[in-house]
Every structure is written in C-alpha cells, then in structure tokens.
C-alpha cells in the first residue's frame, strides 16, 4: 500500500498543495488531470527524485519520505521512456540487475520474450519505434520486480494503433502480478479503461478520488465535469461480429460498432459526443444505433451545449445552442439518440 499524507512541494512558480492519497495493494490507480496540474511532479516525489517540503510518503508501511530513489524499489517509466542512448537494448534491460550486482542472462531473455522484444536485444534505442522503446522500458523496469510501478503518460507519445496494444499490455502486466500501478495521464478515455480508481488532479491539488465510473458519472463539481466530458466510454461484451459489424451487449441494451473484436471479448466502446445526434421525433436514417431516452442534464460549453441523455445507459451529446432551441430541449424531455456504427471506436 502507498500512503501519502499532507504532501507539499514548491517548484518555481508552481506548488503541490496538501496531497493526501491512499493506493491499495494490487490496484491500478490513475492520476488524471490537465497539463500543468502537477501530476508528473507528484510521481517524481513518490519515486524520490525530489523531496517534499512537508508531508510523508509510506510504501508498505515504511516511511520512505527521505529515502533516496534507489532504496525505494519502485519502477518509473517516463513519457519519453528515458532509455540510455549509449547502451544497446540488452544493456538497458540488464541495468537494474547490474546495479544489484546480479548477472542473470536467463531472466533477461525471458523478460524480452514476454514483451516480444527478443529480436531487438542488440539494437540501440534511437533506432527503435515508440512502441518498441516502450516495451524495452517496461522490460527494464519489470526486471527489478518493483513494489510499485509509476507510469508517466505512458501512451501519449504513441500512435493510436500502438496505444491500443500497449494499453492491453499494461492491463496484462498488472493482472499477472499484484503490482501497484500508478499511471498519470491527461486522457480521460485511457483513465476510464484502465483504472480501478481515479484521482483527479487540478492546480496542484487532488480534487476527487473515486472508482473509475463514479468520477465520470458523478463529478464533484463543474470543473471536473468539463474536464471529463470528452468521450462516452461504455463497457460491454461482444455478442457477435459479422464481417466487422460488431454487436456489443451493455447492461441494458445492445449497440453496434465496426471492429475486429471477437465474440465473447470484453471491450470498451468509445463514442465522441459530437458524433451523437439528438432528435425529438423518431427518424429513419442509416445510423445503426437508435435509442429512446430522457434528457437528464444540459450544460453550456461555450457556443455548445453538453446534453446528457439516459437511455438505460448515459450518453453525452454535444449540440449547438441553436439546435437545442429549435428542438425545444429541456430537462425531462423524451428524445431519440442516434449514432452510426462507424462512429464507435472499440478498444
């Protein structure tokens, strides 16, 4: 378990103020917040690269607040992976063992095999793709068998396809061990898919800690709601896939998407709110997903309105103020929500 109490740190113009957090054993914990919220600094304090001005950090009941990083048994992966450019992949992976005076070629080979990088062992980091560098960095850090894995924006430097595979890899790594993972990101979708619990961080403070879905469905205040409202993420199970047209069963209904996912797979369907159409009379259109629902929240966002519709599951839609006026939208109004199967991104 990691326990953080009253952590403060001034950093040039910026400050972390009174951070209290508890992360449980085996938890995948995401710290989510906009750029400049102090997420990376918090992670670096946990790692021991800097010392807090006040406050305490405990890892497994042990007070590590003033311990140097090498004595904390934590694994840290920076956003740019920080591979040592003057060492080949094998030397990079071995580094942690080497520092402990251990030489175990078998372990290195096995870890490289697990992460599918055996063929890269003789290469130098600068010649690798982002995804390959990421896997090398993970192999290097996992080989020291850390108690805690700290990940700083691990997906944001990758292209979308590699993001999907890496996300699955992270989940798999976490499931295989009872490692505590603390993952920092500004991406809401990523947080919702991976996290057991989420801490939302803004302006150097933790503003909400809750189970992943609670943060999205019950944000504590409007700033958090604004920040969260980028995508609809719906968890479900694939019930059929015919030539790419995928049916996904949610709790109360079924939606259709286009994907390569196999029947029985547990997936997340992501839908951008601007791809959701709201109408007041039932319409016939090419959209494969049409649901009846009730407007439960309307919130202004600049020239747009964010409308939450409960159709058994909650859908966020983004429409112009003019459309809302023309449709006569108001709380409690029965509406039809539709979106195309191609607008649903399945991960």
């Amino acid at each position: 378990m990691i326990k953080i109490e009253g952590l403060h740190r001034n950093w040039k113009e910026f400050a972390l103020k009174g951070i209290d957090l508890e992360v449980h054993d085996g938890e995948y914990f995401v710290i989510l917040g906009p750029t400049g919220a102090g997420k990376t600094l918090l992670l670096e304090l946990i790692a021991g690269f800097y010392t807090p001005d006040y406050g305490e950090i405990f890892i497994n009941e042990k007070n590590v607040t003033v311990l140097p990083p090498e004595k904390r048994n934590i694994g840290f992966v920076y956003q740019d992976y920080s591979l040592f450019p003057h060492m080949d992949v094998r030397k990079n992976i071995e580094f942690g063992l080497h520092m402990r005076g251990i030489r175990d070629l078998g372990k290195v080979e096995k870890m490289a095999g697990n992460l599918n990088i055996s063929h890269l062992l003789h290469r130098y980091p600068l010649t690798l793709s982002g995804g390959e560098q990421q896997r090398v960095a993970l192999a290097r850090v996992l080989l020291i068998e850390p108690d805690v894995l700290l990940l700083d924006e691990p997906l944001s430097a990758l292209d979308p396809g590699t993001q999907d595979t890496t996300r699955r890899l992270l989940k798999k790594i976490h499931n295989m061990s009872d490692l505590i993972v603390i993952h920092v990101t500004h991406n809401q979708t990523e947080a919702q898919i991976l996290a057991d619990r989420i801490a939302v961080m803004m302006d150097g403070r933790i503003v909400q800690v809750a189970a992943a879905n609670d943060v999205f469905d019950r944000p504590l205040n409007d700033r958090i709601a604004h920040f969260m409202g980028v995508e609809n993420v719906l968890k479900g199970t694939v019930t059929s896939n015919i030539e790419g047209l995928t049916s996904i069963a949610l709790d109360s209904c079924e939606i259709e998407a286009v994907s390569g996912c196999a029947t029985g797979e547990t997936v997340h369907a992501c839908l951008r709110p601007e791809n959701v159409t709201i109408s007041v009379v039932p319409v016939k259109s090419s959209a494969r997903n049409v649901f009846e629902g009730v407007v439960i929240e309307i919130e202004p966002m600049g020239a747009l309105l964010r409308v939450k519709v409960n159709c058994g599951f909650v859908v966020h839609a983004l429409i112009t103020k003019q459309s809302a006026l023309d449709l006569g939208l108001e709380l409690g109004r029965h509406v039809t929500v539709s979106f195309k199967a191609t607008a649903v991104h399945v991960v």
């Binding site: 690269f49 090498e70 040592f84 450019p85 942690g96």
Partner: protein
C-alpha cells in the same frame, strides 16, 4: 535545385568575404612561416629536430600540458556538473570567477601565481620543504592549469546540460546510487564534450607562455625556448623551433580529433 538558381543575398557575400579574410589571416601567417623555413633553410629545421634541448623542451610542453589537463579534469568535471544541474545563490558570480583566468593578461596571472606559490608565498612557503614551484615542473603545471581549466569546465558543463536529468532519475530508480548513475550514464553521455574540452584545455596549456615564463623560466618549455633563442640569436635561430612546435602540435590535434570523431554516436542531436 531551387537554391542553386537563387542569387545569393548581398549580405551573405559580404559575410563570406570577411570569413575568408579571417581564415586566410590564420592560414597564410602560419603556412608562410613553415613554407619559408622549409624552402630557404631546410637543414636548420632538420638540425633543430635532432637537437637535444629542442626535443626536451617540446616533450616537456606536451607532458606538462597533459598533466595540467588531467588535473583540470579532476577539478573541472565536478564543478561543471554542479553548474549544469544546480541552481544556487550567486551562481552567476561563481561562473564569472571560474572564467576570470580567460580574461586576465597571462603575465598578470603569472605574477599572481608566483605571489601564492613562490618560496615566500601563501602556499609556496609552507610547502617549500615538499614541493617547489619556482623554476620547476610543478610551477609550469600550475600555471597551465590556471589558464586552461576554464576551457575544459565550460565544454563539459555544456555536455552535462545536454543530458536529460530524467536519464539520471531513471538510473536512480533502477537501483543506481548517485555515483553509479554518474559513472554509467552521465559520464559516458558527456564523453564527446569531455574529449573536446580536454583537447581545448591541452591545446591552451601547451601554447601558454606568459604565465609559465614568470613562474618557471627553467626548465624551458617549447614556447620559452623559442623566445629565449629569439632574444639571444634572432629570428633565424628561433624560427626552426617554432616551425617544429607547430608541426608537432598540429599533428597531435588532428590525430586526436580523428580518433574522437566517432564518439558522436552517443549524442542526442
């Protein structure tokens, strides 16, 4: 393709012309001396190359320069690391102080050094029974370190600044205490800057005359011998030694540059 058809900017032509003037000023001055010596009086050059006192002076220059560079490395690398990584009160002042030897006239540096390290000096007096600086090898080295260490420190500091501190953090989190992170990550990544700084430092050390001649006229280093021969016997006696000094140092610099050019591999850019 496009650039070749474009007429060059007039200002660029002016810049190219002025750059050529500078280049020719250096090349013509040195080449003229070498060529004239070879053409008009080759035997004198050959004689000088085999003269015992000449060989001794030039090797002394090289050797003392090498020792001065090693001392500068030991003292300069830690200073460079602190300046590259830490912010502290009066940092700008400390940086300026470390650069002072570059701007002080070298005879002035020599006088200052003699005041400290001479037989009656602040350090020279208590050390007298162990080590002498006046007219001694130690004095030559001290003078060389004083004038050339800033070149090394500045180059190495730039090298350290180019290394992302995240690499050091990562090494620490993987179990390296600070000294191991420094030894296995920071130093190798700064290798090219350390090499370049050492070459500059050594070059500056063996070309030093003003500070050395005041603290240690004897044993004579190369530049002192050239000066001594010039005063005693004139241009024709000193020039062969000057030519020899140029040829030897140039050869060594080119060799070291060639050897270290492959080190670029480590660099980010």
């Amino acid at each position: 393709m496009l650039t070749s058809r474009k007429t060059p900017e007039p200002l660029m032509l002016v810049f190219i012309f002025l750059a050529l003037v500078l280049l020719l000023f250096v090349v013509v001055t040195l080449a003229n001396m070498v060529v004239e010596q070879v053409v008009t009086d080759l035997p004198a050059l050959i004689n000088a190359a085999f003269e015992k006192s000449v060989i001794k002076s030039i090797s002394l220059s090289m050797y003392a320069g090498l020792v001065a560079t090693l001392i500068s490395l030991v003292l300069g690398i830690p200073a460079a690391y602190i300046l590259a990584r830490k912010d502290f009160f009066a940092k700008g002042f400390v940086e300026s102080v470390l650069d002072i030897p570059v701007v002080v006239p070298h005879t002035v540096a020599g006088i200052a050094l003699l005041t400290i390290f001479g037989a009656n000096g602040l350090l020279g007096a208590p050390l007298e029974s162990y080590i002498q600086f006046r007219d001694a090898f130690a004095g030559i080295v001290i003078a060389m370190v004083f004038v050339s260490a800033p070149f090394l420190t500045n180059s190495v500091r730039e090298g350290f600044q180019n290394i992302d501190p995240r690499l050091e953090n990562t090494a620490r989190s993987l179990g390296a205490p600070m000294w191991k992170a420094f030894l296995f990550v920071t130093l190798p990544l700064a290798a090219r800057h350390i090499m370049a700084g050492s070459i500059m430092c050594w070059a500056r050390a063996i070309s030093e005359f003003g500070a050395v001649v005041i603290i240690a006229y004897y044993p004579m280093i190369g530049p002192t011998l050239v000066y001594d021969r010039y005063l005693s016997y004139g241009l024709s006696a000193s020039r062969p030694i000057a030519v020899l000094l140029i040829l030897v140092t140039l050869t060594i610099f080119i060799a070291v540059r060639l050897i270290s050019s492959g080190w670029r591999l480590y660099d980010k850019d």
